[in-house]
């Protein structure tokens, strides 16, 4: 039996040291602890699984015969670190996909916000400049909703879905004003903000949403749902703003519009939109559902890299805030 054709890898969101040299592997639905020997075998097997190396060569290299390798793969599958490819469903209902999404979302969000930037900001190691920079990028991202939300309607064929997406757009299109208000309170007048240039990763986020909008309305909607998922839990976002206000002397006028924006999102129940959309999808192929999940996960990855770029750019005192457009005379 060829193990490489039989098994797929489950995503491990975090690997941390446990007692006695063991490792704890966090999946979306459980934590699996492996002893040093088991982890070493798991590590080698997962690195080998997608490669060209023939099974017998691999067996010889790690000193296991084919039977023991099959047994190892089976045990890892029972521990849910691998899954059997022949168990992949051929199709799924829209609501089943939503259940999957709801189960996975906390892991995606944890990954998206695992960047050290957040801890730095909350612990007082950041700066007002970085907070402002992050807000400027958020302004651009929110304004750029106008580049992707209407596009998602234009590329949708099913009437009930385009109706939902259009309503969402109508409710969100001008929310960037909340950020211009907050930025004004931080000393950045409207014209400075509106004429500024976003960071490449900020632009990348909206370009990725445009890509999703053109490819598949469900792929677009899951990305939108991941983003809405970042604003539903007051317990998560309030401490960030409160701590930043405290550490960096931010005026209340700079925070109030952001809270107003978050409250409005909660009021509109935008986090339920993906459910409403999937309710209207009786069935979809397993392959399409996988592609939709891939989009959702990549959106989380975009957020991580976006944060990385914000920290790098605004953490460098030599860089202008906000970023100015190129001018052949001035530059």
């Amino acid at each position: 039996m060829l193990i490489q054709k039989e098994y797929g890898l489950r995503r491990v969101y975090e690997t941390t040291p446990a007692e006695n040299g063991a490792k704890a592997l966090r999946l979306s639905d459980q934590v699996v602890e492996l002893g040093p020997r088991e982890f070493d075998l798991y590590d080698r097997l997962t690195a080998w699984l997608p490669t060209q190396e023939p099974q017998d060569v691999f067996c010889e290299r790690i000193g296991l015969d084919a039977g023991k390798l099959a047994s190892l793969a089976r045990k890892l599958s029972e521990a849910r670190l691998l899954y059997r490819l022949d168990e992949l469903p051929a199709s799924i209902t829209g609501l089943e996909l939503h259940q999957e999404f709801s189960r996975i979302l906390p892991s995606w969000l944890a990954e998206a916000f695992s960047h050290p930037f957040w801890e730095r900001m909350i612990s007082g190691q950041g700066s007002k400049r970085m907070f402002s920079g992050w807000l400027i990028e958020l302004y651009h991202y929110t304004r750029n909703a106008n580049r992707h939300m209407p596009l998602s309607c234009a590329h949708t064929r099913e009437k009930p879905l385009k109706l939902l997406r259009a309503k969402h757009y109508a409710e969100e299109w001008n929310h960037y004003h909340y950020f211009t208000k907050a930025l004004k309170a931080l000393g950045y007048p409207d014209e400075t903000v509106t004429s500024s240039v976003p960071l490449p990763m900020t632009l990348a986020l909206s370009n990725f949403m445009r890509q999703a909008a053109r490819e598949d309305i469900l792929a677009y909607s899951i990305c939108s749902a991941v983003l809405e998922g970042t604003t539903t839990d007051r317990q998560t976002f309030n401490p960030y703003y409160e701590k930043c206000a405290e550490h960096y002397g931010l005026p209340r006028e700079a925070i109030r519009p952001i809270y107003a924006h978050l409250e409005l999102d909660v009021q509109y129940q935008h986090s339920d939109l993906f459910h409403e959309i999937l309710e209207k999808v009786p069935t979809l192929t397993g392959a399409r559902a996988g592609r939709v999940l891939e989009y959702g996960h990549q959106l989380a990855e975009h957020i991580w890299l976006w944060t990385d770029e914000i920290e790098k750019y605004y953490g460098d005192e030599a860089n202008p805030v906000p970023r100015r457009p190129f001018d052949p005379q001035l530059d």
Binding site: M201, E294, G296, W304, E309, F326, P328
Partner: protein, 332 residues
């Protein structure tokens, strides 16, 4: 007496060293000493393009001719300019080509200085970063199917022959990298693998520019083209040192490196070196707005290229899983 409104370029930095004033701008450095340094020191707070030479001289109690002479010399050196309102004048394609080349040299600096190169040459890059580098290059080159095709489909009449030829000549270059990756991974894995967000960002930015403005797109693309090894001695040597280091520390990358070299040779054979120059010669004179747009796209392209390298460096260090297999209903 006006005599123009001088402004110090905002991307210039001025440093004081032992009584001298050193102005750095792009790749050039101008040093002033003695009376010229003293005069510039007095002028600095006012060089915002809002105050005329005449008004400056009056304000500082200087002879206008002296202020004008210094301003002209600094302008000739490229660190100062005279503000002009957009009077509708146009720039020829040939002039734009020279301006673009000068800016690209500056904007490409962070790309050549990126720490990823040193990590690979010195053997401190991880396996994921090295394989990731090959995968991301593959994804980027394979992206020709997107941005070059969009560029050709949305081309202006003048640009169409260039963009059509470019796509037709390069659409299968991704396969050269794919062949290298096949030494390590099965074809179905390579085809299913997902690019990093930073690589997606680069390809998507190219595609969006290609759909919006043919000339600006190609001005941006030219910056990427300038990073290709044209066989010129100095650049060629640097590339050889890079591959030698990579092969020494990561011997299993030999076939990957061969694919990189094969792609370089394929590019060299096409003789794309002067395509942008030809395009510039064929476009009608450009308005100030068109010049700004094309240079903004080019600058942003350089930033996206830096992001592309950052992604390989930081993302594969933090999330080392390689290849990046797509999600399924059981993988998450």
């Amino acid at each position: 007496m006006e005599m123009g409104f001088p402004l110090l370029r905002r991307s210039a930095s001025v440093q004081r060293r032992d009584g001298q004033l050193v102005i750095e701008h792009l790749s050039s450095e101008v040093t002033l000493e003695g009376p010229a340094a003293k005069l510039l020191d007095k002028l600095l707070p006012h060089l915002d393009g809002q105050t005329s030479v005449g008004a400056l001289a009056e304000k500082l109690d200087e002879r206008p001719e002296r202020v004008l002479k210094l301003a002209r010399q600094l302008s000739a050196a490229g660190v100062m300019a005279f503000r002009t309102d957009d009077d509708g004048s146009r720039m020829s394609g040939a002039q734009f080509y020279e301006l673009h080349k000068e800016r690209c040299r500056h904007w490409l600096r962070p790309i050549y200085d990126h720490p990823l190169w040193t990590k690979i040459v010195e053997g401190t890059a991880t396996r994921s970063q090295v394989i990731g580098f090959a995968f991301e290059k593959y994804h980027y080159i394979e992206g020709a199917y997107e941005h070059m095709a969009i560029g050709a489909a949305n081309a202006t009449a003048e640009m169409m022959p260039h963009l059509a030829r470019h796509f037709i000549e390069e659409y299968n270059h991704g396969d050269i990298y794919r062949k290298g990756l096949q030494s390590l991974f099965p074809d179905d894995v390579i085809l299913a693998a997902q690019p990093l967000p930073s690589t997606r960002a680069l390809v998507n930015f190219l595609s969006e520019s290609a759909a919006r403005n043919s000339f600006a797109y190609y001005a941006g693309n030219e910056l990427l083209q300038l990073t290709e090894n044209t066989g010129e001695d100095q650049a060629g040597q640097a590339v050889n040192i890079f591959y030698a280091g990579m092969k020494q520390h990561y011997p299993w990358t030999e076939r990957l490196i061969n694919s990189f070299l094969a792609h370089t040779h394929a590019d060299q054979k096409l003789g794309h070196d002067d395509v942008f120059q030809q395009m510039c010669a064929s476009v009608p004179p450009l308005t100030g707005k068109e010049v700004r747009d094309a240079l903004e796209v080019t600058r942003s392209m350089a930033e996206h290229l830096r992001l592309f390298l950052d992604g390989i460096d930081v993302f594969y260090r933090r999330f080392p899983g390689i290849p990046r297999m797509p999600s399924t209903l059981r993988s998450e």
